[in-house]
């Protein structure tokens, strides 16, 4: 009997094990994320700009662009030796494959984001008291929404000639509402004073996640097989 969670666990274990040995996805995410933070530190001198104006955009730009490179790596690895055909010719539940891929990408991105965040705290001299439970909830929702769409589009991108270029071109327009919610919500958290209006942005991110996780779960099989 093929169990849904058995397939999820197999995909997660295989991806994490391979990444533990190669470390190419993690390295890509961390290196690109750090470079983005450094570039923004030089572009917007923290001594002359309010942190709440610069840090939210910097963080989410670093997370999303580094995440795009990570997703390309992850999908590219599935394409090596045509492993994707091995998955397609198996009877495994396509929804389970989607959930497994999201979870493994979530592990890679979460670890990368935490490293980038530590460096951002150092470079922007951030007050750790801003890193509240709501901040981490927003971080989780933003990352999950990014992966809900990105995991599907990464497979589509791999089937085109342009590959690396295709993923951001497809992904970023769809992610606009999520990016808006994540940046605005983070700005409220980093602004001294009450977190007025934060709930609305968190709700926006949650609804985005719900819609695109459902769509991805239902469509992943078709995308994989077309």
């Amino acid at each position: 009997m093929r169990s849904f969670w058995g397939v999820v666990a197999a995909v997660l274990a295989r991806d994490v094990r391979a990444e533990w040995r190669r470390k190419d996805i993690f390295t890509t995410i961390v290196m690109f994320g750090l470079l983005t933070v450094v570039v923004f530190v030089f572009a917007f001198d923290p001594a002359r700009h309010a942190r709440e104006d610069v840090v939210p955009g910097t963080l989410w730009t670093a997370f999303f662009f580094a995440g795009i490179l990570g997703l390309n790596r992850s999908a590219g690895r599935d394409g090596q030796d045509d492993q994707i055909s091995g998955v397609v010719t198996s009877p495994a539940d396509r929804g389970a494959l989607y959930v497994g891929k999201i979870l493994s990408n979530l592990v890679f991105m979460a670890v990368g984001e935490l490293v980038v965040l530590v460096f951002a705290i150092f470079f922007f001299d951030l007050d750790e008291r801003h890193l509240t439970g709501m901040f981490f909830l927003l971080l989780a929702l933003g990352t999950l929404g990014f992966l809900a769409v990105g995991t599907v589009f990464a497979v589509i991108g791999q089937k085109t000639r342009l590959r690396e270029v295709m993923l951001p071109v497809l992904l970023l327009p769809v992610l606009t509402p999520l990016l808006l919610g994540a940046v605005e919500g983070t700005a409220i958290i980093f602004t001294p004073g009450p977190d007025e209006g934060l709930g609305d942005w968190v709700q926006l991110a949650a609804v985005f996640d719900l819609i695109f996780l459902t769509a991805g779960f239902l469509l992943f099989g078709s995308v994989l097989e077309e």
Binding site: A10, R17, D82, S85, T89, P91, D93
Partner: protein
């Protein structure tokens, strides 16, 4: 004997190009058919249709009485596929690769089955080694172990002898012959006829996407195949000449 594959008028088009045209094929349990043809004859297209990697543009195809476009999971659960590529993850060990596929195919006794299959293909002692350290031939053997992991009723094999040395080819032929005896139906594309004709039942020849010949393997004359290849080469040269003049 039970019919495993029934194809009628099977065709596949890529854009305006017909890669496969109007092919009929019946494959019974315990029957092996060798698929021959020059490059571009449509062998891989036919195999990819059976492997559910592509859908027919025209014609009908049933596998174990099921339509693969409607009952894909059930069809895939009873099929083993060896492709040009090995479909293996280099970063994992041989055993880890088989465990992964065992989970995808819902094989219950995965550890024991993986150990058994690795032993059968002569990789028992390399079970804990990463695939990246394997030669092409070893990868090919592991690929076969992957395809046989769940005792499939149908084997779809695209050049399974690729990368194998002479003893490896003989071992593979013996293994495939045993699978046929077990009752598996088999369609394999190969140029290594020496290893196949002794135990295959029929030979099916494709040319420019069409079936041009289907005959018992025992009556198949390899010289005829050589003549056929010469004919194809001459035909291509003629086309090239015409294009050159145009």
């Amino acid at each position: 004997m039970e019919v495993v594959v029934e194809a009628q008028g099977l065709s596949r088009r890529y854009g305006r190009f017909w890669a496969l045209r109007d092919v009929d094929l019946t494959l019974h349990a315990g029957e092996a058919v060798a698929l021959l043809g020059a490059n571009g004859a449509g062998k891989s297209t036919l195999l990819s249709l059976l492997a559910t990697l592509a859908r027919p543009s025209e014609g009908s195809l049933t596998i174990n009485g099921l339509d693969p476009t409607k009952k894909a999971a059930a069809v895939r659960g009873g099929m083993g596929y060896v492709a040009h590529h090995t479909l293996l993850d280099d970063a994992l060990t041989a055993e880890e690769n088989l465990h992964y596929y065992a989970a995808l195919f819902g094989v219950s006794d995965a550890a024991e089955r993986a150990r058994q299959r690795l032993h059968e293909v002569g990789l028992g002692e390399r079970a804990q080694d990463r695939v990246e350290s394997f030669s092409r031939g070893m990868r090919q053997r592991l690929s076969l172990a992957r395809a046989l992991l769940h005792d499939p009723e149908l084997l779809v094999l695209d050049e399974p002898f690729t990368g194998l040395d002479a003893p490896g080819c003989r071992d593979l032929a013996t293994r495939l012959s045993a699978e046929k005896e077990r009752g598996a139906a088999m369609l394999l594309a190969t140029h290594q006829l020496d290893y196949v004709l002794q135990w295959a039942d029929r030979v099916l020849v494709l040319h420019l996407g069409r079936k041009v010949e289907e005959l018992p393997a025992q009556t198949y004359d390899d010289r005829g195949w050589a003549a056929h290849l010469t004919e194809v080469a001459a035909e291509r040269a003629a086309v090239a000449t015409v294009r050159g003049k145009a």
